[in-house]
């Protein structure tokens, strides 16, 4: 029952943070779909590691799945990170630039 409850806490927590007034069925369905979509799609992306190493893929998939489910509800946290704040946009831009350079510059030289 704990996992089941966790899913339904997603909408409750989201409402506390972001919306005022009563919460409608369509909002709850949207938020729950978003939560499930996020978990499933991140796990699917991690499965791509099988092209590098199957054992690593198995370990990473399990690990990511556990982390994601243990940290539910994800959507409220996720939404806070994805808001229209310029500071956050700039922060993620710099992080992304660093990741790209690491992959292309060092990846191109040493792989």
């Amino acid at each position: 029952m704990k996992l089941y409850d966790k899913f339904f806490n997603v909408a409750k927590r989201f409402k506390q943070i972001f919306t005022s007034g009563s919460v409608t069925n369509s909002e709850v369905s949207g938020i729950l779909t978003a939560e499930l979509l996020l978990i499933v799609s991140i796990i699917l992306l991690v499965v791509l590691i099988r092209h590098v190493n199957i054992l690593l893929c198995g370990v990473m998939t399990l690990l990511v799945a556990i982390i994601l489910i243990a940290n539910m509800p994800l959507i409220p946290k996720f939404k806070v990170e994805q808001e229209d704040s310029l500071n956050k946009m700039l922060f993620y831009s710099i992080i992304t630039l660093s990741i790209i350079i690491i992959f292309i510059y060092w990846g191109g030289n040493f792989v």
Partner: protein, 486 residues
């Protein structure tokens, strides 16, 4: 043999932009002029023959010692891909201009300047074979987008435009730096010359400067195409522009994305991890776009995030880098331009009639506007990939492409994201059209402008026709892709 029609595709809208801006006071002649030019824009690519144009008439020269061909001037190449995309861009521009001149009694020369300048820049991005010329038009396009958002009369538009400008102040110089590094390594800004320098091993693809330029241009491409981390700002600018302008803005984004990506592929496909990064960023865009669309209550923002998610599908197709996958990605790009334009116009009609964008305050609009409701529904189904509409065709191709490339995970991801898109539409359609109308909701303008219905009808016809006969575009795109992969 040079083709003089090619520069006209860029020059005519640009000249029109300058004229309407200079003669801002004469509203009626401006309206007549812009409608005539808007009709010409989609016609020119249809009548122009395929070919190459060298600006200044400087034809390529052969180095007699090495036997290598050099392009001393800016070169524009017009092929079937350019024809299809410029035609669709022209149609959307015409519809947007048509709605604008019917909606406002007094035409704003400055606003029309932005629309035509944007169309001209997007056309140039598709045609150019010069990486610095690409940057110039990419920069103009970014500024045009800021201007269009700033010119809208919506709350918070200036703030959003300023944020986009600030992020552009990071994205654009970084891309320019990358182009500078490329020039330093290859000694040319002509893309064909750069590609032949790489093929002839004149430059090392493992050289740090070359790799750095790849990374920096890649980052600039993320900004131009609104992929993460720029997905929030991209959806933000769509939501803060007038709906008809948002329809055009998303066309600019799609064209920037595919034209810069195709250029990057020609130059950097030899770089390790390049294709992987394109696929990963596209997959993240799909996930973030749809997840955020599901949590929105403002329908303009919802469409904005959906548009970003759909960009991920395009990148996914092109990133897999096979003839079939790139064709699927480009076909998806074409479909997205049409479908998202229809949706922005459709939801613009809702804003026009109610003045409301919050889905929680809307309802029961099907009885007031059944035609709009039906067209939005069909547009939404097309975006979600429901047969026999065009979105289904391209998404099916993408799924087949990722399966045949050995990535069933990506096929699964595409299917899941399409289902989630369907959920977003069911939710949105129910809350806006089907549920009982809230007592406090006022329908201030019951009669929608005919121009709006006409524009939506044209786009819907295109969706259905391409859905039923996808070969009219996929055959040509596939031929083009086969050519660039050689």
């Amino acid at each position: 043999m040079m083709n003089e029609w090619i520069p006209l595709m860029v020059v005519i809208p640009m000249l029109c932009a300058v004229i309407v801006s200079a003669f801002n006071k004469w509203s009626k002649p401006i309206k007549i002029l812009v409608v005539i030019v808007a009709i010409c824009i989609p016609i020119i690519p249809l009548i122009a023959q395929y070919g190459i144009h060298y600006f200044g008439g400087y034809a390529p020269m052969i180095d007699t010692v090495t036997g290598i061909l050099y392009h001393p001037s800016i070169t524009y190449i017009f092929n079937i891909l350019q024809k299809i995309f410029i035609f669709v861009l022209g149609i959307v521009t015409f519809l947007v201009v048509f709605i604008y001149v019917n909606k406002y009694k007094k035409a704003s020369g400055q606003y029309l300047f932005l629309i035509f300048m944007g169309t001209s820049s997007a056309t140039a991005l598709l045609l150019t074979d010069d990486i610095f010329n690409m940057f110039v038009f990419f920069e103009i396009l970014a500024l045009v987008q800021v201007g269009i958002v700033a010119a809208s009369r919506l709350e918070g538009n200036f703030e959003m435009a300023l944020r986009y400008l600030i992020l552009g102040a990071i994205g654009s110089p970084i891309m320019l730096l990358g182009i500078g590094f490329l020039l330093a390594t290859t000694g040319s800004v002509n893309i064909t010359d750069i590609v032949s320098a790489i093929q002839n091993a004149t430059i090392s693809v493992k050289s740090p400067i070359f790799l750095m330029s790849c990374g920096l241009i890649f980052f600039g491409w993320l900004y131009a195409s609104g992929l993460p981390p720029f997905h929030t700002i991209k959806s933000g600018i769509y939501s803060k522009a007038e709906p008809h302008a948002a329809a055009l803005l998303q066309c600019f984004t799609v064209i920037s994305m595919i034209s810069i990506l195709l250029i990057m592929y020609r130059i950097f496909h030899v770089v390790e991890f390049f294709e992987l990064l394109v696929v990963i960023f596209s997959a993240i865009a799909m996930i973030l776009g749809i997840t955020l669309a599901l949590t929105q209550t403002d329908f303009r923002r919802m469409i904005g995030f959906l548009a970003v998610g759909e960009l991920g599908f395009i990148g996914l197709g092109i990133g897999l880098y096979t003839q079939f996958a790139i064709t699927a990605g480009l076909f998806q790009a074409l479909n997205e331009m049409i479908i998202t334009a229809l949706l922005f116009l459709g939801f613009g009609a809702i804003v026009y009639t109610t003045g409301e964008t919050d889905t929680r305050k809307l309802g029961g609009l099907l009885q007031y506007h059944p035609k709009v409701g039906l067209m939005i529904l069909l547009g939404g189904l097309a975006m979600a990939g429901v047969p026999p509409l065009n979105g289904f065709r391209s998404k099916l191709m993408l799924i087949q492409a990722s399966l045949s490339c050995g990535y069933p995970e990506l096929s699964l991801l595409a299917i899941i994201v399409s289902i989630a898109t369907f959920v977003v539409f069911v939710k949105m359609f129910y809350t806006i059209f089907l549920r009982p109308k809230p007592k406090e909701l006022e329908i201030s303008k019951n009669d929608l402008p005919r121009s709006m219905i006409f524009a939506m009808g044209i786009l819907l016809i295109m969706i259905v026709v391409i859905g039923i006969c996808p070969n009219i575009v996929t055959y040509g795109i596939s031929q083009y892709v086969g050519g660039i992969l050689l």
